[in-house]
Every structure is written in structure tokens, then in C-alpha cells.
Amino acid sequence: MKLAVIDTKACNLNSVLQALKRLEIEPLVSNDQNELKTADKYILPGVGTAQAVMAGIEKGGLSDFIRSLDKPLLGICLGMQVLTKYSAEVPLNGGLTRIDTLGIIDSQVEKIQAPGLRLPHMGWNTVRHSDHPLFKGLAQDTYFYFVHSYCVPVCADTSAVCSYGQDFSAAVCKNNFMGVQFHPEKSGAAGAQLLQNFIAL
């Protein structure tokens, strides 16, 4: 099994790489299609902003490559959010109302509606899942680590739900495309289990 981490050049990959190393996986890290083609599985990490991640994907000419993949892909945090059609997370002074994203999952990214609660939604929160293989061996209401202010609402492809002011997608799965809003690489033993499950798919 060869795992590739898609390097969008928009974020720090260190946490994900360290988590994989702890699972004794040495991934290919690349934004080059020809190199990426040789992999069996993909992780699309994302920290930063939707615009920065999409710019990194476009720069590598990777939009169509990612859309056409038929092997398992796991998006993490923003890497999950960009699987949807568009994001409301726009630069403060850019005059944009949305950022177009990959359009694989039929949903979108909205600001979390959590009146009276603090944003970002930061910390450990419980997840209810629908027994997707990604969550094998993980009990309902297991805690995962979240850091985000935007979310994918619950949609047809939602496979795990978290609540913070509103219910939102903690995980989405559509065929070979999977995404988690939380950070498995920072979620202790539960996160390591989820990454191991992805590797074992």
C-alpha cells in the first residue's frame, strides 16, 4: 500500500506526517500528478483558509486529478470542506461571497451557527457515526479534536455528526471520497484508530 499526502503548499503537513509516522507509514508527499498517480490512497490535509487550499490545488493543476480519483481519499478539516461545492469562508476584504471548491460532495461550507457559544469551535467534541468502516472499533460519542469556524451542514453524504450550536457533518463519505472535520492526527488514540482504519480500507 502506498499512501500519498497531497501537498497543497497551503498548510503545514507536519502533524499529519508525524501521525502517519507513529503508524509506521512513510507517505509520498507531493503536488505532482505523475508522482501522485502511483499511490493507492490519498490524504488531503488542510489548515488555513479555503481560498489558500484551493489556490494550492489549482496551482498544482490537481482539481480534475482529485475529482477523477477512484482510490480512497481522506480529506482532513479544510481538506474535507473543499470536497463540497463552495465555501462561505472568504477573505475579509476581498469582495468575494464564496470560494468555489471541488464539488464532489453535494453540499457547501457555511459559518457555524452557534449563538451564545464561542467560535472557533475548538477542542474535543463527541461524534455520532453511522458505522462507516472509517469508524470501525470506535464507540458512539467518541471524542475527537476540532478546530474550525465553518462547517458542512448535515447532508445526504454525512456519515458522522457533531453538535456545536447546530448539528454539522463530522464526517462525509461518498464512494471513495471521505472527509473528517476533526483532526485525527491530533485526536489521541481515537484519531490514530481512525487513520489506521483508513489505511486498512
Binding site: N12, N14, S15, Q18, A19, K21, R22, V47, G48, T49, R118, L119, P120, H121, M122, G123, W124, N125, T126, Y143, Y145, V147, H148, S149, S163, Y164, H183, E185, K186, S187, G188, A189, G191, A192
Partner: protein, 257 residues
């Protein structure tokens, strides 16, 4: 439900973990990586590392230990101390820290908060505030350069004003160090914590004074802090994290166990 966070704080000086009483008289507590690994294994929700000498002495610190921590632990951690620029922050995040925490440099250069938030995202910009209750004037004062007693200065800021200001400038989280209580183990200053909570729309972490399990309960149940930070009670094994979390859970606090 979002869990309240238990956050061991490791004050780092010259590559080892130290702890002082009321920010003075530092004693060596142990090795950074082994203590970090121990706390992660015991169920800490997050770790904070403060290089307590960096800001006061204005020297550049060797941060390679951050990479060793990132290799070993699988929970989030923040690094504080001597972060005066985007380049400093970049280095720390590249070593694998999840958040950067700024304190004295934010007081010298408040725009730094905004520059860091714009570049790295609000979620990784923590502002630490050293707050001192001056009994003579009845005012909560913000102190700067608290790495040693000699270097400490009183700023022109009152704590509540500074809390509002750092949020306006893009702080993603606030750690309130209540200096009068620090190391005293008498509990957090709940009055102050509640006052800050009322005007704090970002996550708020209580720091300074934890000595018993009920002090953590009070920070969460009475003052609605999002996290509670403590050092010596964990380092000296006065409180064990698994027991603390079980206690809080039984008292009805949302806690990850």
C-alpha cells in the same frame, strides 16, 4: 458536547521543565518530551509550553525540542515565549506546534496579533495575559515581561480593556494568568475569571492557582472557562489527571475520558 479542557502547562527554561512560585524561584521539574508524553498518555486534552525566559531576556531560543514533542504526542499543543514576529511563529508551527501563544510582544506591538491571525488563522493565535490584582487601587493590571521579578513591568492596560482589545485584534483564544494566585494552590480567582468571561467571546483558559480538584470544577461550573491550565499540581503529582477527569465527569462537567 464540547468538553472542558485540562491543560498541563510546562514552563520551559534551558531545555528543561521548571516551575516557580508567583513567577519566581524556579526549580527543575523534568525532561520536556518525557513529561509531555506522560501527560498525553494520562489524558491531558492539550499542552502548553512556555519558554519563560525568552521574552524577558530578549534572546533567541533553541526551539528544536518542539519537533521532538510533535513526534511523540498526538494531542494539540501550544508554544509560548519570545514570539515577536511572523517568522518566529512560522518556525514554531513548522516544528509541529498547533498554536502559538503571545504575551509580552503583543503588549509592545498589538498589531502583531492581527498579523499572526491573518497569516496563520485565528485558531492558532492565543494571547496570554498576565493579570495582577493591585489591592491598593482595586484594579486588575496587565503585567509585561514577567519572566523574572526584576524584569516585570506594569503596563498601562487594565485587564478587561486588554481582553477586549486582543479580541478585536484577532486573538483566537485567551489564557488568563492570574498572577496573585500563581503557584499558591488556593484556587483560581473566580471573581476575575467571571468578569473576563462576560466579555470574552473566544475560548478562555484559566491559569494560576489550581491546587485541588474542586478548583478545576469551580473554573468550569462557576466561571464557565473553556479550559483550566495548571502546572505544579500535575508536575508534583498532587493531582493525577485520570482521577481529576473522573471527578469532574461525576460532577456533571463535560469531560473527555
Amino acid at each position: 458536547m464540547l468538553a472542558k479542557r485540562i491543560i498541563p502547562c510546562l514552563d520551559v527554561r534551558d531545555g528543561v521543565v521548571v516551575k516557580g512560585v508567583q513567577f519566581k524561584h524556579h526549580e527543575v521539574m523534568g525532561d520536556i518530551v518525557s513529561l509531555a508524553a506522560r501527560y498525553a498518555a494520562e489524558g491531558a486534552d492539550e499542552l502548553v509550553f512556555y519558554d519563560i525566559t525568552a521574552s524577558a531576556e530578549g534572546r533567541r531560543v533553541d526551539r528544536s525540542w518542539i519537533a521532538r514533542v510533535a513526534e511523540v504526542i498526538n494531542i494539540p499543543f501550544a508554544v509560548a515565549g519570545g514570539i515577536k514576529s511572523e517568522a518566529d511563529a512560522q518556525e514554531i508551527l513548522a516544528y509541529g506546534a498547533d498554536k502559538i501563544s503571545i504575551n509580552s510582544p503583543a503588549l509592545s506591538d498589538p498589531d502583531l496579533i492581527t498579523r499572526l491571525s491573518d497569516r496563520f488563522g485565528v485558531q492558532c493565535v492565543v494571547v496570554g495575559i498576565d493579570s495582577y490584582f493591585d489591592a491598593a487601587s482595586g484594579v486588575y493590571q496587565v503585567k509585561q515581561f514577567t519572566g523574572s521579578e526584576k524584569s516585570t513591568v506594569t503596563t498601562r492596560w487594565q485587564t478587561l480593556d486588554w481582553v477586549a482589545e486582543v479580541q478585536r485584534r484577532g486573538a483566537g483564544e485567551i489564557v488568563l494568568n492570574m498572577m496573585n494566585q500563581d503557584g499558591m494552590k488556593n484556587g483560581y480567582d473566580l471573581k476575575q475569571l467571571k468578569a473576563v468571561r462576560e466579555i470574552c467571546q473566544v475560548p478562555l483558559i484559566a491559569s494560576g492557582g489550581a491546587g485541588a480538584m474542586e478548583h478545576f470544577y469551580d473554573a468550569f461550573a462557576v466561571a464557565d472557562a473553556d479550559g483550566a491550565l495548571a502546572a505544579s499540581v500535575f508536575h508534583k503529582q498532587i493531582i493525577a489527571i485520570p482521577e481529576l477527569k473522573q471527578y469532574l465527569k461525576e460532577k456533571g462537567i463535560a469531560i473527555r475520558t
